[in-house]
Amino acid sequence: MAQFSRTWWGQRFIAALEKIMDSGRLSRGRSYARGGKVKSFEIKDGVISAQVRGSVNPYFGVYTEPLYTTTIEFKSISAANWSAAIAYVASKASLISRLMLNEIPDNIDNAFAKLDVHLLPHHEDDFKTECSCPDWSNPCKHIAGVYYLLAAQLDQDPFLLFELRGLSREALQKELAKSPLGQALSAELTLTKSAPEPDLSYFTKPTVQTAVAVGSLKDFWHGAKRLPQTIEAAPQASVPAILVKKQGDFPPFWDKESSFVETMEELYGRIRTKNTQLF
């Protein structure tokens, strides 16, 4: 994980923290996040509570690995403001479609501008942090570690941002239900995600059947229908990697900084053209 977030909102989210912290603590926070020091991580009613493993440090008299409790709490946006903001969102197809595609629209702030609030944390007042560690500074590196992980999670689940700012998923659904476009988004969000279905075999399993009586030799050697007399002409070149392109770049499982779509284009191209010995 070179970067914690590749989305604009995740990066903006991180920027709010980076504005108020020194680079030393930030960098240690990043190693905490990367190094699996954050032991547990829970979000409830907009409050994040985490258990972070500290380091042994005889100089400070810490001889066994300590476990600190860290919380981050974001300032809630009032219910009335949420109502107004969601009403605005639900009046623009562009905002709704992007949310449906699991993206925070880059002009989302328009929905909040009139209300004089920001969806993304903007200012140190927008969140409160606490940690049980002995560090005098707040936010400390443990808080930063948790914060970075939170940013990474926002990439995959942008609606978490709404939750952090005081709009629970149920409340979001309720607000969305008020307008036709909102209903469309609401319906998309409630689509149940399918549980992993186990694959019984890697390739489709070719099963056998007991041979029924074969009427004639022709039934054995020929198909039920005659093959077409001609082979369809080779198609014209089409746009490469189109299946993948529609899903947008940087799917969750791709954590390289280079574009997934471009990499796939190259990959498809290689498979198409470099296998001259095979087809």
Partner: protein
């Protein structure tokens, strides 16, 4: 003969990943001695060593590396095959080469066969070579080899199926219709024994799953194709196994196809040559795992999360791919005023009824009830799907976001540059992504108006064509031309052109029409035009036609309206524009409408000095059209008082007599002579004199080579090649000899669809218009290989354009032909006797002449009937008379040779036919010959056929899924009661004395349910009793008093002299 078989065989299952391989084997009737029929080992196969030699020497499979000899890829596999007793039965393809009747009942048994696994070594980065399945490429090559008879092999129906399937499946790879995938496997662990010691080191929850990287096909087309191919798939393709099973079993067809497709895709993807650079790009990602060729599952770290992330991504791909019930459409609207904005409108169309396009403006502005109605058509959750779909589209074409800044999106506005970009790129991208894009007609290839340098043919020297006397013999017409600047077919001045070159946008409105111009190219064209403007070049008509056909993007050939040259080329490309001309005065007979158009085409082409190929379907009367042309030109020549030189007609020996006969019938005033046989002219002077005295000299392909010196010595007016496919081998002496002859006019006739056999086509054109299609090697490279091996539509279209003006081919299914054609077309085929037949015939006649005078009463009658029988047998084939099991070869009977040529044509057309004969022994011989020597699918019904077998044959023959077949029937057994309407050709190999009986037989095909015209072909041996009896039937008056009965006994009422006259052989009818 060797038949190639093969199929996909899954490995013996041994875990989660079950692979497979494509195995090829060779069935043969040339069984080597050493192969004893050991139990379970297929006796008629090429065994390992022979197979290896055969693969390398005949099929050109290279043993690429010493490390990977072919022998290593050969291993025994097991096939469940129809068997009888202790032997497997031959495949249907091989059965046609074996003189052995197949039993009706059979059982299925497993046979061990040495198989070659279709794999080739591929070099892998950082490791050695790996063997990878190359079945797509291999089958394409084998098909090409078999098609072009490059080796003595034939593809079995099983392999042919796989050839078709692999060609179709290739599209999945060419169109990127697959994605990297993960497979989630549940693993059942044995219960862990928890010991106190190892408590710490043992993870508490051993995960009960594994995740494997791989590939997945995601394509609607693939799913549709699978369903379609299941119906084409023979059981033979699901009967191959890695080890024999206990009971007879087959694989499930669809599952085997899926297994094959998935394995193949994975093998190809994981063996794609890579580079260090690319490896770095995908290092430590899902793609790296998916591309690596080992079978291991992913490491334990975060694999469940990875799987879930991938799974969500995949579900979304398949959702938009298949689940949304409507198409999102985008329609680009051009502005009324050039400066006004363009508009891209959004529409939705139900997938079930894509022509019902609902503009979103209409949808949003509709009342709620109407919206509900529309939603019914556009599917559940329409608005939700619409927004999702718009969002996906906007991802691909971000400008769309602008149109979504509302709660009711309907369209976006664009300026000129954006519209241009959209037309140029985005429209295509959206279309490929499954959206429907509707663009203005002027952008489509059809409506596209281009700026071009126009080659304007002035055709000035063609004006000579108006002068009848000269034009008739002028064939080196020259075309004059000049270059113009033109846009969309209209001439443009240099000034206008320059203005357009300077226009800011490639989209311009010019003379009231929007169009797309490429200014850089226009600049180049302008320079080209300036350079060539001063020239006034001339080329020959045929070179000009080649120039027009081969075309060039920037150079357009056009003509001024109403100009003769334009009109002329139009007529040649679209023959329906030729006017039918009236029958020549001296033609004895009436031409059908299409035959008149044919005549018009023949004379038109010759007037222009071009040589063509008349390729009408068999039965449409090519002969009579040629004769009409001969009559017509004689009339024209007479008018112009210009005597014509003779025409040389070259035909297969079996039709030489027929030509003579037809000329006598339709144009008795034309002098024709057959140059053939021992009596033929022997020296140049004699030959020249003979040619001078005749309008037409008919000879055979064989004699051209023998008598080239004589034939060359005459200045011919025209060469006509009947059955022109006979010159398809450019290296044959006969072809070379024909190419040496010179004549101003050349005409080729053929009934086989030449356009599908490219080398035949080339050979015919090499005769007609040498050089027009280039040299043979060049033609192979630029047309044959791209079209037949790579299925290249562009080359194919170019070739069609090139040859189209020179080929007139009407098929009997053309609507315009059907209306000119009676439902039943009867035709007689006159054949000569071979020398052997003639001497047998004469001997019989000689014997009887003496005996007849002495015989009386019953004895006389018996003698007459026996003689008739003998003579008819001789007319059919010497073997039938001799009954000595000697060779039933076409060389011994022109009748048989003509029959097999015609059957070949019918088969090439994909049609079925009936052959009637009175003689069981002949039926037997014909069936064997057509099945074993010509390899057609045959049925044979005779007096001894039992009822069940008879019904089964009829059903099978009639089944539309049965390949085109030959049905041989004895006149007595098959003459009544049954329906064989799949056949639309009926042959009467020998004649019955009563036309009513023949007609009844013909009616097996000509019955209710027959949708095609029926062609009836009756064979008549020239100069024999057959011909005379035919005349009697045609014109009963000639035999006063004789009553034509239902059998031959009435003939015994003839007096001795009449009878002798009836059977005497006319010696001029003998042909070698």
């Amino acid at each position: 003969m060797k038949i190639l078989h093969g199929t996909w065989i899954p490995q013996v299952e041994d875990g989660f990943i079950q692979r497979g391989a494509f195995y090829l084997w060779v069935e043969t009737n040339e069984v080597t001695k050493k192969s004893k029929t050991t139990q379970h080992i297929h006796p008629c196969q090429l065994f390992k060593n022979d197979l290896e030699t055969f693969l390398m020497q005949e099929l050109g499979i290279k043993s690429e590396l010493r490390l990977h000899p072919i022998a290593e890829r050969i291993s025994p596999q097991y096939f469940l095959l129809p068997s009888h007793g202790d032997r497997p039965l031959p495949s249907l393809e091989l059965a046609r080469y074996i003189e052995q009747d197949l039993p009706e009942a059979f059982e299925l048994k497993y046979w061990q066969v040495d198989c070659y696994a279709a794999k080739t070594p591929i070099h892998m980065i950082g490791s050695d070579y790996e063997l990878v399945t190359n079945v797509i490429k291999l089958l394409n090559e084998l098909h090409f080899i078999a098609m072009n008879n490059l080796a003595e092999v034939q593809l079995g129906a099983d392999l042919l199926f796989w050839y078709h399937y692999t060609q179709t499946f290739k599209q999945v790879i060419l169109k990127d219709q697959y994605i990297p995938a993960l497979k989630y496997r549940e693993v059942v662990h044995p219960k862990q024994t928890v010991s106190a010691k190892s408590k710490k080191s043992q993870p508490k929850n051993e995960p009960n799953f594994e995740v494997y990287p791989g590939w997945e096909i995601t394509s609607d087309q693939y799913e549709t194709d699978l369903k379609r191919y299941v119906d084409y798939m023979p059981l033979a393709c699901v009967a191959g196994f890695a080890e024999p099973h206990e009971t007879p079993e087959f694989y499930d067809r669809e599952l085997l196809l899926r297994h094959f497709s998935e394995c193949l895709l994975t093998e190809i993807a994981t063996h794609t040559p890579s580079t260090a650079g690319f490896e770095q790009k995908i290092d430590d990602t899902l793609l790296h795992h998916c591309l690596s060729a080992n079978d291991s599952s992913l490491g334990k770290n975060s694999r469940l999360e990875l799987y879930q992330q991938w799974r969500t991504w995949r579900d979304r791909i398949s959702h938009i791919q298949t689940a949304i019930p409507f198409y999102l459409c985008f329609q680009l609207q051009e502005p009324g005023q050039p400066e006004a904005p363009w508009e891209l409108q959004f529409l939705a169309a139900p997938k079930q009824d894509p022509s019902l396009r609902v503009p979103l403006t209409e949808y949003w502005s509709s009342k709620a009830t109407r919206q509900k109605e529309l939603q019914k058509q556009l599917g559940e959750r329409f608005e939700q799907n619409l927004l999702l779909n718009l969002g996906y589209a906007a991802r691909i074409y971000p400008k769309l976001w602008q149109g979504l800044e509302t709660d009711q999106p309907v369209s976006i506005a664009m300026d000129l540059a954006e519209a241009f970009e959209f037309l140029q790129d985005s429209a295509w991208v959206l279309e490929s992504a499954g959206y429907k894009v509707i663009i203005p007609a002027w952008w489509t290839p059809k409506g596209h108006q281009r700026a071009k340098v126009r080659l304007r043919a002035k055709g000035k020297s063609l004006s000579r064509a108006q002068d009848k006397s000269k034009s008739y013999f002028s064939y080196d017409n020259l075309v004059q031309y000049q270059y113009d600047l033109s846009i969309g077919g209209e001439q443009v001045s240099e000034k206008e052109w320059l203005e357009l070159v300077k226009a800011k946008s490639p989209l311009v409105k010019f003379r009231g029409q929007w169009m797309h111009l490429d200014q850089d190219k226009m600049q180049q064209m302008l320079e080209f035009w300036k350079k060539h403007q001063q020239e006034n070049p001339e080329i020959s008509l045929i070179d000009f036609m080649r120039l027009t056909a081969e075309g060039n993007e920037d150079l357009e050939v056009e003509f001024d309206r109403g100009q003769t040259l334009a009109e002329m080329l139009d007529k040649l490309h679209d023959k329906s524009r030729l006017e039918a001309i009236s029958d020549p005065v001296h033609l004895q007979g009436t031409l059908r409408e299409y035959q008149k158009r044919g005549l018009s085409w023949l004379s038109y082409l010759e007037q222009l000095g071009l040589n063509g190929c008349l390729a009408d379907d068999m039965g449409l009367g090519k002969t009579v059209q040629v004769i009409a042309r001969l009559v017509q030109e004689q009339e024209q020549a007479k008018q112009a008082a210009m005597p014509l030189k003779p025409t040389l007609l070259i035909a297969p020996t079996s039709v030489v007599g027929n030509w003579r006969k037809e000329i006598e019938k339709f144009a008795p005033h034309l002098c024709s002579i057959v140059h053939h046989g021992t009596e033929r002219a022997k020296d140049t002077t004699e030959f020249q004199a003979m040619a001078q005295q005749n309008h037409v000299v008919i000879t055979s392909f064989t004699l051209i080579r023998k008598d080239l010196k004589l034939i060359e010595s005459v200045d011919w007016h025209r060469l006509v090649l009947d059955e022109a496919q006979n010159i398809k081998n450019p290296k044959a002496e006969q072809t070379k000899a024909i190419l040496k002859l010179s004549a101003p006019h050349r005409l080729a006739l053929t009934g086989t669809p030449v356009e599908n056999r490219l080398l035949d086509l080339w050979s015919i054109f090499n005769f007609l218009n040498p050089g027009y299609l280039g040299k043979e090697a060049h033609f192979r490279k630029s047309f044959e290989v791209p079209i037949q091996k790579n299925n290249d539509p562009v080359r194919s279209a170019t070739l069609k354009k090139l040859v189209e003006p020179f080929i007139l081919r009407r098929v009997k299914t053309d609507q315009s032909i059907i209306k000119d054609l009676p439902d039943k077309v009867e035709q007689k085929l006159y054949c000569n006797l071979t020398k052997e037949q003639a001497s047998l015939y004469e001997a019989v006649v000689k014997d009887i002449t003496g005996e007849l005078d002495e015989a009386e009463g019953i004895q006389r009658k018996g003698l007459i009937l026996a003689t008739l029988l003998k003579l008819k047998q001789i007319c059919n084939h010497p073997r039938q008379f001799l009954q000595d099991e000697s060779d039933f070869s076409p060389e011994r009977s022109h009748k048989l040779s003509r029959l097999s040529e015609m059957v070949a044509e019918v088969m090439a057309e994909g049609e079925s036919l009936l052959i009637f004969t009175q003689f069981t022994e002949l039926g037997d011989a014909l069936e064997k010959y057509l099945r074993q020597t010509c390899h057609y699918n045959t049925y044979y019904l005779h007096g001894g056929t039992n009822r069940n077998k008879r019904e089964q044959m009829i059903t099978e023959f009639q089944d539309p899924e049965t390949e085109p077949s030959v049905f041989i029937l004895s006149l007595k057994a098959g003459g009544v009661g049954i329906t064989l309407t799949k056949a639309n050709h009926v042959f009467h190999f020998d004649r019955w004395w009563n036309p009513a009986v023949e007609n009844q037989a013909t009616d097996r095909a000509f019955r209710i349910g027959q949708k095609k015209n029926v062609f009836v072909h009756k064979f008549v041996a020239i100069g024999t009793l057959e011909e005379r009896i035919d005349e009697m039937i045609e014109d009963k008056k000639k035999l006063a008093g004789a009553i034509v009965g239902s059998d031959e006994s009435w003939l015994s009422n003839l007096d001795n002299d009449s009878f002798k006259q009836l059977i005497t052989l006319n010696k001029s009818a003998i042909l070698e």
